[in-house]
Amino acid sequence: MSEKKKDELLHDHNRDGVDRRGFLKCMAWAGTGAFCVMKGGVLNSYSLSRISEISTADMMGELSFVQISDSHMGFNKPANPDVAGTLKAAVDKINGLTAAPEFMLHTGDISHLSKPEEFDTVDQILKSARPKDVFYVPGEHDVLNDDGKQFLERYGKGSKGGGWYSFDKKGVHFVGLVNVMNLKAGGLGTLGHEQLEWLEDDVKHLKHSTPIVVFAHIPLWSVYPEWGWGTEDSAQALAYLKKFGSVTVLNGHIHQTMQKVEGNVTFHTAASTAFPQPAPGKADSPGPMKVPAEQLKSVLVITDVNYVQGQHALAVVDSTLA
């Protein structure tokens, strides 16, 4: 694909009227998760696959945690016949980190078909991870057939409504949102009125200087609406977060890493622990990408990196990935 075509794609999937000033985008696949560290109120995110290239000093901050995503336990097709093995590999990487993360976030699609044994397997594998606390939000694959009943029973204790919740760690306010329920024909991910009202209320009392980390399965920005990679009412959610100086949004769903900065908000998507998906518009459909086994299990392969430094200071937070 030509450079020109790439640019067209970039513009095409940003028809949301949002100012593109300060736009940063990196794409890669086959990472196994992200190491996130809060430093001076700003979140830095590093792919676990390239963590050896990050200095110990860079990994130190007020708070660190790991994001993993899209384990798809139960998937057994050629794109990755051993999703348990690749999840274990991710856990090994997490356990090998010199700066021990305090907890983990799983941004959904824990299971492939919402089967109890799939959730059981993931729970069992994650038990061997050094960080003991795991905070989950559901992916669409976790709420099949039962409108999320099983997911809520397993992971939703203390959550509100369809499974959303917030918590505080070392002065950072974390918000887990659910955007995979009640999807409408032809539409994208949805947060819904009830959840949006809850969010508005949840952050109302917080000081503007509080760093905010929002995590949800489907991206809260328009990555590629043609493939459903976006959330209908995310603009409303982000409007409630406008007053804050530092907002980080962590998502999964698209099985590749991307970053983007818009004003006070830095968006990240994490790679899947299971299998990669094609870059937006670069295949007929967002189906699993089949890659040689040695590539899948080993290190990150950056297939495409686009970096445009913006005018906002936050635009450089991920420069070490490029």
């Binding site: 050629p78 919402s114 999807l183 024909a185």
Partner: protein
Amino acid sequence: MRRSVSIAGLAAALVLGALGFGTGQKSHVASAQEKMSMMEVKIDNFTFGPATLTVPLGTTVTWINKDDIPHTVVSTDDSKTLKSKVLDTDEKFSFTFSKAGTYPYFCSIHPKMIGKVIVQ
């Protein structure tokens, strides 16, 4: 005896199919299937094929998932006339249409996937 008849029927369908594809006249296949009151919608590459299917009253439509990723068939009306379980690779869902009308549906996991059945 029954067995040989059905094999003959299958052979005829195959011949018709081959003719249809060979000459680009797919209508031959469709008319043969209509007589049996069975129609198939293939789910492939995150699309329903055909996206719009017109069938006579009483037809049984079967959806089959040919993707590596699970899909569903759920109609958009409030009463959810069509509501399949999650279909993993090669799994099928069938529904017999006993009332005329237009039945729009989608995949509730990937809502960009939409289709409709028109029953006449």
